[in-house]
């Protein structure tokens, strides 16, 4: 059972366009939602993360939108560039004070930005 559902599976966007990736979760105990970028053969790299007390967070060209009531969050990549071509994973975790908090990942979106 996939606790974090991610769509689309793949996405092709023209250079300069907006890439939008959506995620939905079931467990209302999740309180930390990061996005990771992964290039082939490399480890996931943290892009941006949000807590449920805010509805939007922006860092450079990357924006997370969060809808707590709908249990959904999305990543927007503005002015998409060919160098953004990678696989993007949303994830969720329950912050445990003083202990480790495992990440539950979505299934990933393969983004291709064309010239």
């Amino acid at each position: 059972q996939q606790q974090v559902k991610q769509s689309p599976q793949s996405l092709i966007v023209q250079k300069g366009g907006i890439s939008i990736i959506n995620c939905a979760y079931e467990n209302t105990a999740f309180d930390y939602f990061p996005w990771y970028q992964q290039f082939p053969g490399k480890g996931p790299a943290l892009l941006i993360a949000i807590r449920p007390d805010v509805s939007e967070k922006k860092e450079g060209r990357f924006t997370i939108s969060f809808n707590k009531s709908a249990k959904q969050f999305s990543l927007h990549i503005m002015d998409s560039q060919p160098g953004d071509s990678a696989t993007y994973f949303c994830a969720a975790a329950i912050i445990n004070t003083g202990t480790a908090s495992k990440l539950t990942f979505g299934t990933g979106t393969r983004l291709q930005v064309t010239l």
């Binding site: 930390y32 996931p44 807590r51 994973f89 202990t99 480790a100 495992k102 990440l103 990942f105």
Partner: protein
């Protein structure tokens, strides 16, 4: 900036052999996580350690064991290897957490295990 170090980067083993993967977290990170990623799959949580104690356990086979040492590095031991164990194995580390703070996990480059 220092990153998570994993060794070896590539490992080829035969079925039923044993493998040991090592992870060196970022300095001053006290928490280590292990994830397994199959081809075209999302990373799946295996096990985590906080302050050298096992913190949580995911879908880790009984054939696998892990520990975190006094210098905070961690080792994942895999025995009786099966073809299905072929995957990328990532280690991630987190810094000492303030109360209610975020759970930023920084991933290493991974170890690609191939079981023949």
């Amino acid at each position: 900036a220092a990153g998570v170090i994993q060794s070896p980067r590539h490992l080829i083993k035969e079925k039923r052999e044993t493998a040991t993967l090592k992870c060196y977290p970022i300095p001053r990170h006290d928490t280590v996580y292990w994830y397994q990623q199959g081809p075209g799959q999302d990373p799946q949580f295996l096990i985590s350690f906080y302050e050298k104690m096992q913190s949580d356990k995911g879908s880790i086979p009984d054939r696998f064991s892990a520990q975190q040492f006094s210098d905070y590095h961690s080792e994942l031991n895999m025995s009786s290897l099966e073809l299905g164990d072929s995957a990328l194995y990532f280690c991630a580390s987190s810094p000492i957490k303030l109360a209610g703070g975020p759970n930023e996990q920084f991933f290493g480059p991974g170890t690609r295990l191939t079981v023949l």
